[in-house]
Symmetry: D2
Amino acid sequence: MKKNKTQIKVRYQETDQMGVVYHANYLIWFEIGRTAFIEDLGFQYHEMESAGIVSPVVDAHVYFKQPIRYGQNAYVETWIENYDGLRTTYGYEITNDLGNIAVTGTTKHVIVKKDSFRPVSLRRSFPDWHQAYTNALGED
Amino acid sequence: MKKNKTQIKVRYQETDQMGVVYHANYLIWFEIGRTAFIEDLGFQYHEMESAGIVSPVVDAHVYFKQPIRYGQNAYVETWIENYDGLRTTYGYEITNDLGNIAVTGTTKHVIVKKDSFRPVSLRRSFPDWHQAYTNALGED
Amino acid sequence: MKKNKTQIKVRYQETDQMGVVYHANYLIWFEIGRTAFIEDLGFQYHEMESAGIVSPVVDAHVYFKQPIRYGQNAYVETWIENYDGLRTTYGYEITNDLGNIAVTGTTKHVIVKKDSFRPVSLRRSFPDWHQAYTNALGED
Amino acid sequence: MKKNKTQIKVRYQETDQMGVVYHANYLIWFEIGRTAFIEDLGFQYHEMESAGIVSPVVDAHVYFKQPIRYGQNAYVETWIENYDGLRTTYGYEITNDLGNIAVTGTTKHVIVKKDSFRPVSLRRSFPDWHQAYTNALGED
């Protein structure tokens, strides 16, 4: 199964007064991992948007194992957990400098028309993405 | 079951170029609902922190039903979904101006010592919170 | 001179590991004050955007006098510092619970077409805003 | 004069519904540039914090020349604009992919004790930082 691993340097702004990365920021790191994963497949998410299509999140599940602190590096690993031609579920694992798992999770996405938020089929509208996603999942 | 309903005015900063509230911000809105719920019970989260205790999130589940846009108002309703003396799971429902459900979700929390992140029992360390949480859940 | 005063409740997410509100967030609070000020004049910024016009910031100056902490309330006071028909400079003063000044600043704005970012005259395109801004500045 | 240039990849979360990077985020990018500049000098800001010292912002001035959009890369260049042993003013210039200037600005900082926010002299408390800052400014 294809995976992408991207390094993230903790921003001071991302910490809270608990002295750790504020939990909502991990969804932003998932987004960074997802973008890098898509680029690894040879695509650019912003090109999809130029075609009038956006990809909102349907649901998100996040499991916080241990905190990440400022001064540490983090690594987000991203893969396709599930894909059916309409919905894509990405899986994520964030590790710290020591290789310990800090956060895991998934986000499920559809694609819709930007103006109406009406659903669109990835398979039919972006057949090359469809093929790459199918390959990345290991189903070809 | 006790519930708190808090109005949230969308901030321009919370939107993204999709023209809707960026999805990670709903976790921040959950935090606003949770804080208001706790205050409704007669407590202040920052007083817990003054006692050297913080309350990190263990997991979060978010379901995005429909987008919220700038210029709209949102309402976050919060309740205790589950509580066992150690872990508290809060439930959330965010609605828009028209009363339509936009986002639902849960977050599970423990309390830990701020310096060591060692777990602490809410029941033993904060018996008055424990009592209020038990009552709010409808188990007394 | 017309002024608007809006209460802001500090969000946990807005703190950083210094234990105070992260400095960039005050620009977001300025935006909240500015929006409330405009609504006090009888307008809605999002209606301007519906007409294909956006209002980017040209410059911002922020003076941090003392930190604001979680558990405190803040108040942002907003007024028009300068207005010439094209550019509007808003002034801001953020105070804490005790009435002490925490942050002051200004932001200067123009209005532009959303698609091209070409400048537009507020005076000519939105004469009712122009009149209200002129009045709010005390020049009529 | 010593300068550091750091690449920043625009995050989707950093955009707003104007379709560009939300203006307050440039202060976060300044922070990223500042951190990289300090590391170039051989120091780590988080080590200063481990010694019980934090470095709040005294004032910030930001000039927005042209917007940066998602899908573009940005570069933040950072240098010491002024330093007197107590206060450090950093200068910043953010450019886009084409080398055009998008944002410029300065932030002035002091260092204070984390628990009391009482000012501390960088020259006396961190003589090696003092020397490096003096050198970086070109005054040796």
